[in-house]
Assembly symmetry: C2
């Protein structure tokens, strides 16, 4: 079950990357204001002398990103905002506005009642308030399962924008907080077990304040960990045309994640590399930045090296 779902998730990410490559090649840009279109955590638009505008649309799908068996509607709403804020954080930006579209079963035997929708919005509003995001629109539609789309608009100071494509050879690779905790929580839920990691799966939090500090400190590249650390560093490397060496023993994993993995007879390193939705930040920075950023909740996990013909883009050293 576990490996199947990991493989499926990997398969989908590979396929998504492939389809997106085709889409990006064919998408035409009709405006000089587009600084970055498809291919980073947010689109970047040139809108004033001081700021870039950031825009991102992302989807939470019932049965894939949340499960009604264990998530409350408020938790689902909170996750919709945290997940979107995490994309703004990945650019070093600030979220400002969000549009929320919810498709839900409205008539069928599995109909969702209005109270449930209102509870989702309660979660959306509480998370939006925390980040001072104004909810400015969206729509409601019928569907067979619940699908929540969040479009978020934010801004980034022109000097501080952090893209995926600026990793430099010689950079150290860092990540914030701890990894694998959401995956450990999900696996506990799937097994009907209890444990400290569960709340990390049900109520993940974006790292907005930290990302602002890192962007201001001057990191070279940044991404948020929504698909799993191994996939995220691969995206940075592909965009920056470099290679990364990651030391698995350096990956930050909390005591409770280790304990929960152990109780399930699972490998916590696997959780930390391939588990999604931690919403931590992964970034690369020159060594001269170390004194500035070591005070933050970040861990060095590897290095950026030259791309080698025929070699994997990411090498994981166990």
């Amino acid at each position: 079950m576990k490996n199947k779902s990991k493989d499926r998730s990997k398969e989908f990410i590979v396929r998504e990357t492939e389809i997106l490559r085709g889409i990006t090649e064919k998408a035409e840009l009709f405006s000089k204001s587009v600084v970055k279109g498809i291919g980073d955590d947010c689109a970047v638009l040139d809108c004033s002398n001081e700021y870039y505008q950031l825009a991102k649309s992302s989807t939470l799908s019932e049965g894939f990103h949340f499960n009604l068996k264990w998530s409350t509607p408020q938790q689902i709403g909170m996750k919709a905002i945290e997940s979107a804020v995490s994309d703004i954080a990945a650019m070093g930006g600030l979220p400002r506005y969000a549009l929320i579209s919810i498709a839900f079963p409205s008539f069928a035997k599995n109909a969702i009642n209005d109270k449930f929708i209102n509870e989702i919005y309660k979660g959306i509003n509480s998370a939006a308030k925390k980040y001072r995001i104004s909810i400015i629109g969206g729509d409601l539609t019928s569907s067979e399962k619940i699908i929540i789309n969040t479009s978020i608009i934010g801004l980034a100071e022109k000097g501080f924008l952090a893209l995926r494509c600026n990793a430099k050879i010689g950079d150290a690779v860092f990540c914030s907080g701890s990894l694998g905790k959401s995956k450990a929580g999900l696996e506990l839920l799937l097994r009907g077990m209890k444990g400290a990691s569960i709340i990390s799966h049900l109520e993940p939090k974006a790292r907005l304040n930290l990302s602002r500090n890192l962007a201001k400190a001057g990191v070279n590249s940044m991404i948020d960990v929504s698909d799993g650390a191994a996939f995220e560093i691969e995206k940075i490397c592909s965009s920056s045309n470099v290679r990364a060496v990651i030391y698995a023993s350096n990956l930050p994993v909390s005591k409770s994640t280790k304990k929960d993995a152990e109780r399930m007879g699972e490998d916590y390193i696997d959780f930390s590399l391939y588990g999604g939705e931690d919403f931590e930040l992964m970034f690369t920075a020159g060594k001269n930045l170390l004194p500035k950023i070591k005070k933050y909740d970040v861990t060095a996990i590897g290095k950026i090296v030259e791309r080698k013909h025929g070699a994997d883009v990411v090498e994981i050293v166990y």
Copy 2:
């Protein structure tokens, strides 16, 4: 079947309005830049001296907005863009950027293949090119049925913005083009019949150029006809705190729509009042504007009068 689906659609619109009222009351705005939040065709943001920025997120849901039995993937993609452009047109604005998120069955026995997704994007790109919209992002996700969310960002000159809430007592009510054609097409498809209206259902077109002309001419209020003319005029009246009298015999219905309705033994007035997705424009304007707008493809269908306590917000005179 017909009445059931009409009642369902009406029921959903009433319910959506009710839920949205609750959401709007609870949504907090944290920025003075929000000129208009939830409650119009687009959100309006104050972003420069000359322009407002417009933003809208809307969803097409398989089985509700399109049916794989008769829509090609290209037509579905085109509709996603036309539907979003129609919301920008309703404000008198210009579309600039779009983010497309597609959720689709990726693994199950009803899996959609990559070619199908690429065909959807072919439709998206061809419609986007027509309007010079840059596709700047989005995502791909798994779901049980296809759900396409389009977030569109545009602009409107500050002098020309057309809101729902500015209908004035004494205004005439107009609508563009002809009504009921998409509904007639859908009903033909549901009955396995052929007819000229079918293409209007499968390939609806937004009225962007016309809306620009109307906004510049100085209409008081405007909305696009996506839910049916009767519902749209009700939205204008509710937002503007006025009442409308609509003369059913004045509703513009094309010869082919009349013919198709007749062949099905259906009432074309019903199609024109309650059929959705025509993407025509409905607007109100003072009588002094008549000379300026009569050259356009528009028809006067009623008038705006004072709100009467206890009376229906919209009176339809047959």
